[in-house]
Symmetry: C2
Subunit: 350 residues, 2 copies
DNA sequence: CTATATTACTAACACGCGTTACTAACGCGT
DNA sequence: ACGCGTTAGTAACGCGTGTTAGTAATATAG
């Protein structure tokens, strides 16, 4: 029973109607009158034949692919340990399913072929796009704006006309650093989550600086190091920091993943966490509460972020034009053991 | 310059040839003679107009969507912390890109709507499918076999006719348990990675049993607990185990992620790792070497797995019929600190 | 110089569906 | 009987491409 091409014509034949009628019934075209009996006959015929419309033909005729694209702009190394991605995917797929659409995923290396997503658009393979990790120096982005292609950024592009959804990175970092300041620390190092060309990294660093400033603590550039997404880089940068001879009693690490590496490095230097070195991360990855010591961090609403982005995109697809272009979600401090707050009897929660 | 539908007709007009010629040139149809000058003319026209073929029209005409589907059969809870997924994705997308194709991703809940992937197939939205986490009680799978749809399983389905790529779970677990046995442990608990309805979980448990048997150590059912993919469940099961009063000095945890939770629970019971409790995981996730203590585990070639699966699928798509239907990849013990080997001066490596 | 093969292309159909414009039948009031 | 609105349905075109069968021009063979 292999090659069993069931077309709408087959359904029409079986129901004794025209192909047009089949299309009208199955698509539930509004404002069209079809008698209930034939309607039922068509539905039953389709059911019996196990009819599934050809996606390509539908797309060609209707000019809608019913697919949205998730484009991740990452270097290959980042992707393998990007748990944030799985959370995004989780939220995304649920929303996409709810809308009866599909998700095409693509990962592109920022160094090469920056325009693959333009291809997806031009080939009309996707109806809309969710772009994660947009870079400000990516000129292909303008092409999206030019043709008014439904686009939602996951992340920010300051000053651009794109719709975007992001967390308040600055506030999150500010929160983390302030927490350490409140615990009495004055020499607080900072390890970024990524190079500063990433706006998120930049914002987090600036939130950290701002917190110091507010507290009247001088910003000391040698206490800042730049990691690159993964634990390895965190491990290196913390080693680097500890061996630099700088004096500091705490560190804000702008990514949980990077913090894992930093913790390992700190341990290897014979320092106890939090007694000798207080640490605060940022992300609240699913395992951050299980590592040792449980990591104090800032929780990002990852899944919600994806949900909101998708829902926003769907509104764009339906022709709406939401006036709020940039949506910024709040974050939340999660106090665990790595910051030492519990030792001081401060915020003895969770 | 918004709606700029560039069709092959436009290219043909500009190059002064027929649409057919354009198609022949652009698709590099073999065995067809086109003079070099017109060929260049067509290519240049296409370039100048920035022509990108309509994917839907191509798919309709050629009966190939140039898209392969990655279908993950998971419960929603699993997905958010599934780092293995990101590694899979990494390997997958690279291979897919190399073949000039795209990847459609879908996550389906094993409880509901098991047949969404059949929809993808019937709608001809995808040319082939990579199915991760196949369940033996999924009857929809037969439909794939019936129509001979290009399919590769990521995981195993014993006794089925599917092409599949998997790691040798039994051997991996055997290896892990044997390592603990060699270190002198005789009372070794086991926390599975998942319920036994998952063949991988079943295989791992049986590898563990087999290792005990080989060593002449009796299998003690009360020492076995069943986790469910995430650290939370590992935390619970280890607590459960420790509070059961059972006597054991080591545990094989059949998933690194689950092991993270188990470590936390062990710590909270005031036990030192590895001195009071030796632990070995399985997966070698990217951060397992950074947690504390660095986790001794079994490395699975995740990215390679995905690569091989994709390459196998491409061979199927090209009509080949590789005779080896089941590919099993080997694993490797990675000795770190959690097992205590280094304390004993055993395998003082890495 | 004619018959045939080769080269370089094109006309026309097919893919399966959405959709517009149109028709046939019917009811209803006058 | 006629006109008119409404209901129920259909014929036919278009979406943009791949591909087969065919043609005109040129080269080759006899």
């Amino acid at each position: 029973m292999a090659v069993n091409r069931v077309t709408s014509q087959d359904v029409a034949d079986r129901a004794g109607v025209s192909r047009t009628t089949v299309s009208l019934v199955l698509n539930n075209v509004p404002g069209i009158q079809i008698s209930d009996t034939t309607r039922q006959r068509v539905l039953q015929a389709a059911e019996e034949l196990n009819y599934v419309p050809d996606a390509a033909a539908q797309a060609l005729a209707s000019r809608q692919s019913q697919v949205i694209g998730l484009v991740l702009i990452r270097t290959p190394d980042q992707i393998a340990s990007d748990i944030f991605l799985t959370q995004t995917l989780d939220g995304l797929i649920k929303s996409v399913h709810k809308a009866g659409m599909r998700l095409l995923i693509d990962i592109i290396d920022p160094e090469h072929q920056e325009e693959t997503y333009l291809h997806l658009m031009r080939a009309k393979r996707i109806d809309g796009i969710i772009l994660s990790g947009p870079r400000s120096n990516d000129e292909s982005l303008n092409a999206l704006l030019d043709v008014d292609f439904p686009t939602v950024l996951l992340g920010q592009l300051p000053g651009s006309q794109f719709y975007s959804v992001d967390v308040d990175n600055r506030a999150a970092a500010h929160n983390a650093a302030t927490h350490l300041l409140n615990l009495g620390h004055r020499r607080i190092a900072c390890i970024t989550n990524a190079p500063l060309s990433y706006t998120a990294a930049n914002d987090r660093l600036s939130g950290y600086r701002q917190a110091l400033e507010t507290a009247g603590v001088p910003f000391d550039p040698p206490l800042v190091r730049f990691a690159e997404f993964d634990p390895e880089s965190g491990y290196e940068q913390m080693n680097n920091l500890l061996e630099s001879g700088s004096d500091f009693s705490a560190a804000f690490v702008a990514s949980d993943l990077v913090a894992y590496g930093a913790i390992a490095a700190t341990r290897e230097h014979g320092l106890r966490i939090p007694e000798d070195m207080a640490l605060v991360g940022l992300d609240d990855l699913p395992f951050s509460r299980f590592i040792s010591p449980p990591l104090t961090t800032i929780r990002l609403p990852a899944i919600e972020l994806a949900r909101i982005a998708t829902d926003l995109l769907f509104r764009l697809l339906q022709g709406e034009q939401p006036e709020q272009k940039q949506i910024i979600l709040g974050t939340e401090l999660v106090v665990r053991d790595s910051c030492g707050a519990k030792l001081h009897g401060y915020a003895p929660h969770q």
